[in-house]
């Protein structure tokens, strides 16, 4: 990876759901290595849409998406992106689908083609990163809300991504888990985009902030 280039370069991107007014309109966004960008905006303003577009789960109607130094448009282009850009979904219930914590965290590394031993190591590392050692054999469905959030983050970190896209990582957590997530994010070296309604939280974990409003991105000071 060229350490000097941009991680992400979005130019003139528009997105609309079928026959509705556009969610995003002519949006530009550049993110460089090591940057941590906060994203705020009302519900339905297009924050999640933007994250999903970056990993190719949604395709823009217009504009160009360049990620990790290459223009990406086809499904195939995004295969590599998804191995190197980790997306944490808003609802951990959507992200965790395996019976046990261990299997869930192993899912990403296995998809990356890692062997058994590498995968086991990745699982252990990821769990210790989020401070959940010993949770390997727990049934994911039975975890509490906060635990699920941390495990979801572990499933993403296990893939050792270069960029993290985090959709409301602190939402609905009790104060203890909230603080845990905050200090964890501060300790991570990756570039990241963090979506949140909590401006205080964003101010403490990111280096700059953007607001999504009326389909546009605006730089704001928090």
């Amino acid at each position: 990876m060229n350490e000097k280039g941009n991680l992400l370069d979005i130019q003139g991107v528009s997105f609309r759901h079928t026959a509705q007014q556009p969610v995003l309109e002519d949006v530009n966004l550049t993110i460089r290595h090591g940057e941590r960008v906060g994203l705020v905006g009302a519900i339905g303003s297009g924050k999640t849409t933007l994250l999903h577009m970056i990993v190719g789960l949604l395709k823009p109607n217009q504009g160009q998406v360049e990620i990790l130094g290459q223009t990406r448009s086809s499904e195939r282009d995004f295969w590599e992106v998804r191995e190197r850009v980790g997306l944490l979904f808003q609802d951990p219930d959507d992200q965790l689908f395996c019976p046990t914590v261990q299997e869930d965290i192993a899912f990403g590394p296995l998809n990356q083609g890692k062997n058994r031993e590498q995968t086991e190591r990745a699982v252990r590392n990821a769990l210790s990163l989020v401070g959940m050692e010993g949770y390997e054999d727990r049934i994911t469905h039975h975890l509490s809300g906060g635990e699920k959030r941390l495990v979801s983050l572990a499933t993403v970190l296990a893939m050792e991504p270069d960029v993290l896209l985090l959709d409301e990582p602190e939402n609905g957590l009790d104060p203890v888990s909230h603080e845990r997530i905050r200090s964890l994010l501060l300790s991570l070296p990756q570039a990241m985009i963090v979506v949140s309604h909590n401006v205080e939280f964003l101010a403490s974990v990111t280096t700059r902030c953007l607001r999504v409003e009326d389909g546009k991105l605006k730089e704001i000071v928090v």
Partner: protein, 211 residues
């Protein structure tokens, strides 16, 4: 594994309709009003899966049927559940048909009920995930094999000349049955570990002959 509209002559269609009506009546009697949402949600989930999940097989892919799973989860209520699902499939996607609705309900539903008697209790009592997985494989394979037999039977009864279709589809079906078995196994294994309550459901469909 549908009998397509127009293929079955009146006699076969009528026999299928009668058998289906009997099975559905039993299923409805066994299902209490307050169990309807649960039966419907399971039916919905299985319907969605059979529509959108495509399991890769060589250069192609196959849709799961999951009637074995429906059987162990729903018991006799699988009969009305399949009647509803097959009617919707005929109406929305033109699979099967309206005159063959009875035959197709029998083809899907009776093997499901058989799986309920054969495997439901064993899965409930299975202790290890592996055991549940294997029982799931058995349920998937048994149900689909029985369905194939019923399908082939009604096709041949519809016209001796149609036997050629049965012969030609024998080999593909072997592959489909295998994949269906593995797939059902993983689902049953998952449920046994994560939500064993799923298999307590057939108590809701208790008929007098319930073991």
């Amino acid at each position: 594994m549908h009998i397509t509209e127009g293929v079955a002559p009146a006699s076969v269609a009528a026999a299928g309709a009668l058998l289906a009506a009997g099975g559905v009546a039993l299923g409805l009697r066994a299902m209490k009003d307050e169990q309807i949402p649960r039966a419907a949600l399971v039916a919905s989930a299985i319907f969605v899966a059979s529509l959108v999940i495509r399991l890769p097989l060589g250069p192609s892919s196959v849709h799961p049927v999951l009637n074995g799973l429906a059987g162990v989860l729903l018991g006799w209520a699988a009969m009305p559940a399949f009647l509803v699902a097959l009617f919707l499939q005929a109406l929305l996607f033109q699979f099967g048909g309206i005159t063959t609705l009875g035959i197709n309900t029998v083809t899907m539903g009776f093997p499901a009920v058989a799986c309920y008697y054969l495997f439901s209790r064993r899965i409930r009592e299975s202790k290890k995930g592996r055991e549940a997985f294997l029982l799931g494989v058995a349920a998937g394979v048994t149900a689909l094999t029985l369905s194939f037999v019923l399908w082939a039977g009604s096709l041949i009864l519809s016209g001796k000349q149609l036997a050629i279709i049965v012969k030609l589809s024998l080999l593909p079906h072997l592959a489909i049955v295998t994949i269906e078995g593995i797939f059902t196994g993983f689902i049953v294994g998952f449920l046994a570990r994560v939500y064993p309550k799923a298999f307590e459901m057939p108590h809701i469909i208790k008929t007098r002959s319930d073991p």
